[in-house]
């Protein structure tokens, strides 16, 4: 945990897209994140698991400064983010996609406008180009036919797919997913996971907090296990979840299984 960013990237030897080093956050004097470091290489999917309250969501939101971290460094493609520079922060966020547990679509805009608005206002695209791009992205998540509907007219799974299209339209270098299927009815989880699987196969760099262990086991390059604000275990799913491995991760997964989750 005390390695420097340079050492972290040297060790992996691949090209790091996102590096997070020694991130800490206290809320009301209580430490929520303690010295969290991680590196995401191009095309990697890393999965963040851990009990609720472990700080997964806080970590994801600290990475794009929706919750400003107290300490730590964030680097996108090797360039350090200066949190104090508002314009640099906006430019950074425009390159880091974020998917929320409760979708957070803009309620007053249709699916298409939800995708197009940031293209127009942040990327400065004109209306036609933004609409065309929005249609493309909605097609990618199978939502073309519902482009004209408002969030209130969509199911949870459809809303989350629109949210994914909205993030993809910005051509993000990395996408952070905060339990994207936790607020969904069980029968709707599949459609959203299918979209995320497609992205992973397409080589999208992603960091995802989830409780979907089958998904993590099948697709993750690495699992990060968090507890009480600390990343306590980190490794390939086969290793952490191997039969007979005495890892905290395996314990937790067994517990999840027993709970019927």
């Amino acid at each position: 945990m005390s390695e420097t960013v340079a050492q972290l990237s040297k060790k992996t030897g691949a090209s790091p897209v996102l590096q997070v080093a020694h991130l800490s956050k206290k809320l009301g004097g209580k430490p929520i994140l303690q010295d969290c470091s991680l590196t995401l290489n191009r095309g990697e999917l890393k999965v963040l698991i851990g009990p609720s309250g472990a700080g997964k969501s806080t970590l994801l939101q600290c990475i794009n400064c929706l919750i400003p971290p107290d300490e730590g460094k964030i680097l996108l493609e090797g360039r350090a983010l200066n949190v104090a520079d508002r314009r640099a922060l906006c430019a950074f966020r425009a390159q880091v996609g974020m998917i929320f547990q409760d979708f957070n679509l803009f309620d007053h805009l249709t699916a298409e406008e939800n995708v197009a608005i940031a293209l127009r206002k942040v990327r400065g695209m004109n209306r036609q180009d933004a609409q065309r791009r929005a249609q493309e992205e909605l097609g990618r998540v199978g939502m073309s036919r519902r482009a004209g509907l408002y969030p209130a007219q969509l199911s949870g799974g459809q809303k989350q797919r629109v949210a994914i299209a909205r993030a993809l339209a910005m051509d993000p270098k990395v996408i952070l997913l905060d339990e994207p299927t936790s607020a969904l009815d069980p029968e709707l989880v599949g459609e959203v996971l299918a979209v995320i699987k497609d992205l992973a196969r397409g080589g999208m760099t992603m960091l995802m907090a989830t409780h979907q262990m089958d998904f993590a086991r099948a697709l993750a390059h690495e699992i990060l296990f968090m507890e009480q604000g600390i990343i306590i275990e980190q490794g390939a799913p086969d290793v952490l979840l191997a039969e007979g491995s005495a890892t905290r991760t395996r314990d937790f997964c067994k517990h999840l299984l027993e709970m019927g989750a």
């Binding site: 939101q61 906006c90 974020m98 957070n104 803009f106 942040v122």
Partner: protein
Amino acid sequence: MFDAAFVSQELLPALNRGLLVSIALIVPSGLLGFIGGILLGCVRAFGSPWARRLGDAYTSIIRGVPLAVQLMMIYFALPKVGIYFEPYGASLISFILCNSAYQSEYIRGALLSIRQGQIKAAQALGMDSLQTIVWIVIPQAARRALPGCGNEIIYLIKYSSLAYLVTCMELMGEGKVVASDTFRFTEVFLAVGAYYLVMVTLATWLLRWLEKRFYIPGFGAR
């Protein structure tokens, strides 16, 4: 004892004259009050702590003092410090100040009702604070505030009748003069009441139309 000559030659011409003045009071103070309410509401919801305190103080004073007293202050007290208004100007200023204070309360509530998650989503896409407020928060807040703000416009139509207190000759003032001259209080004030009722009904229709025009699924019933 319906006196057709009195109604058509004395009462209606006077009330119509007053109606024009009333409309000249209501329309500008409604519009400017609404704009003032949006600005004040934004300051009170999103401003710096000091700006918020200032906005809150303004609102408490305006809401805490009867409009009739404010009107008297503007018309009779301000001249003592060298600021003069004619009756129409004093009424207009007073209504704008009052209307924006009340409107700001509806707008502040609507602004605060926008889910924090949507603001986070806008920021996560790279929007700055101003873009988030203009493109995400205000379009939704305006829809949520519309019924309340409409209600305030209806009040405004009726409290505009207080302008007669500072001798601004609007509908109520003209009515009062005719009534005192002729002692036909019942007929005159029945007619004045009917004029206000018609104005309020028209405003209600207009507001309903606006609500329908800007209807979006998920924001109240059609």
